[in-house]
Symmetry: C2
Subunit: 348 residues, 2 copies
Amino acid sequence: MTIKEIAKKANVSLGTVDRVLHDRGKVSRKTKEKILAILEEVNYQPNVYARGLALNKSFIVAVLVPDFEEGEYWEVPSLGIKKALKNLGQFGLKVHFLYFDQNSVKSFIERAAEVLELKPDGVILAPVIDYEATKLCFKLKAEDIPFTIIDSKIRGCDHLSFIGQDSFQSGRLAAKLLVSSVSKNGKVLIISIKNNENHNRTLHRRIEGFKDFTLQDINQDLILEEVNIDQRNTEWQSYLEEACSAKDVDGIYVPSSKVHFVAETLYNQKLSIKLVGNDLISKNYKYLESGVIDYVIGQRPETQGYMALENFYKSLVAKQEVKKSIFLPLDIITKENLMYYKSQIELP
Amino acid sequence: MTIKEIAKKANVSLGTVDRVLHDRGKVSRKTKEKILAILEEVNYQPNVYARGLALNKSFIVAVLVPDFEEGEYWEVPSLGIKKALKNLGQFGLKVHFLYFDQNSVKSFIERAAEVLELKPDGVILAPVIDYEATKLCFKLKAEDIPFTIIDSKIRGCDHLSFIGQDSFQSGRLAAKLLVSSVSKNGKVLIISIKNNENHNRTLHRRIEGFKDFTLQDINQDLILEEVNIDQRNTEWQSYLEEACSAKDVDGIYVPSSKVHFVAETLYNQKLSIKLVGNDLISKNYKYLESGVIDYVIGQRPETQGYMALENFYKSLVAKQEVKKSIFLPLDIITKENLMYYKSQIELP
DNA sequence: AAAAAAATTGTGTGCGTACACATTTTTGTT
DNA sequence: AACAAAAATGTGTACGCACACAATTTTTTT
């Protein structure tokens, strides 16, 4: 049913119905109620094509995510956003990518300033640098620019939506997978690999989850040992080798996508130790295929990116409601199902 | 860039450009080439809104899938289609559901006839009844109606696209999960639960995959035993109990969503046996939560449905190319990541 | 009660495309 | 060369909505 038909039904003109629909005022209470009743009755749904054509408007979405080398984790959410853009660009969505250096707060602040200067209609934000991200969120709030947080949650911000995963539960799941094939009273390493001093909340939560599972859900007495590897140290690889080849290590958990570094070490040292890590990035493919990495826990980063932009389509273009909070599944990926997860990432 | 601008650039009228765009002929070779060159040069993209408005057309997609009780497997693809309809209905897509009785070839033939009578613009088809499904495909082909196959592949049909999973690999994956926690030389049951005589290709392929893995990929000598339960037999439950409580059973694989029947038996009999099955349907939730079922392998049936309709949107409405064949990932679901897979199904 | 102001309602145009129909140009025939 | 037929090109309208502006009715002021 069109506006024209509604107007005829209510014995008014198109303009009046239009004013009611957009709440532009200048309509008497009586006719407004009459029209609202009819709209309700016929369940009026505007024609998206006509509306889109008449508005003839485009929306800019700024994307603020960490810079990356090819094959690294942060490439994937960007791929998802680009895939979404391919589908949704025709509806007038435009995307402006801004990459910051994860190891430089200054770089984040600069890019954040550029975001504000751009005056976008929406922002997609990876809050890797907690404190500064929060500051940006408040500024966006003040400017009335809606924003979506991807990857990990940030507190005290009124976002359009959050799309990410539950890091704590990710750690718990890793523990389950690792523990199931480690003998009673075995020794398990948790190896964190970092190259900066920033506090990484995701890493931290995963480790907490891992420990939680080993304490709560099993009746084995595991020996847990945390190892920190700092890649800024020139000898970090020797340290890693040393840690891996220590006696009686039954399993290793690497709570990040950098598990391939550990896999490489195990492979070179011909060590056969159960290994569980995070994130299906291309650098982890071959070690999964060869079985050096037993399980990788994925969190659909490309879907996160896709949904983030899709949400802006829904809210800006289609004027629909969007979910405030979406936790994506924690996928368990191993040699036998890897191939289909891979092809998923490469889809149109 | 609009048609109008293209026309001006080429020194012709709108109509001429239009004829070139739609290949309606009645354009001299010379001008046609000139216009094509310009279209290429400026990378002309039609305005979707204007096109949609001008066409003012709707498309009917018939969906032919098995009937179901609440909470059964075939409810889920339908949910996915309905979810897609909610998003895409505004673009003129309409869906007509037709449900057949899986155990009645006659019912399938009747519904198939209704599909043809409906003269839809597209068909989504679950080829559970192989032979008749193939026949329908040929008729659709003759009528020039594009169709999408979901769930399992069918041979020798030229479909618009196939969206489903690799059953063989699903069986292999199940074997991996089960075997990892079964002691050397253990005994493993493969329990097939059926309630009709139809040949179920999916079930068959999964079992083949399972056996393949146990033969190729491990160096244990497992004892495999196949058990067939026919639910039309009034005493099928006793048979099931008997099979489960046999001596030395270390693990059970149920290559279908009916794993909850086995879980129920194990639970009632207080048997602690590793159990792996298929499909995250609501009837399997509680047994996963309580750990009676160790792993369920999912194949995203709701996504299958969603993508099937989305593909018709892409091809009928947006006139885009679609992938011929999509294999969805084989998800490994266990107690610790169940919650997020559940919420995924319930999304908008 | 007339004029002015305010409130309400109506009308017209443009958005870019598809398609039917009208007009012009070219080609073929005598 | 004159005409008809065919080919090529141009024009106009509809699609449903948003928004600017015009017209009308009601209320307030003098």
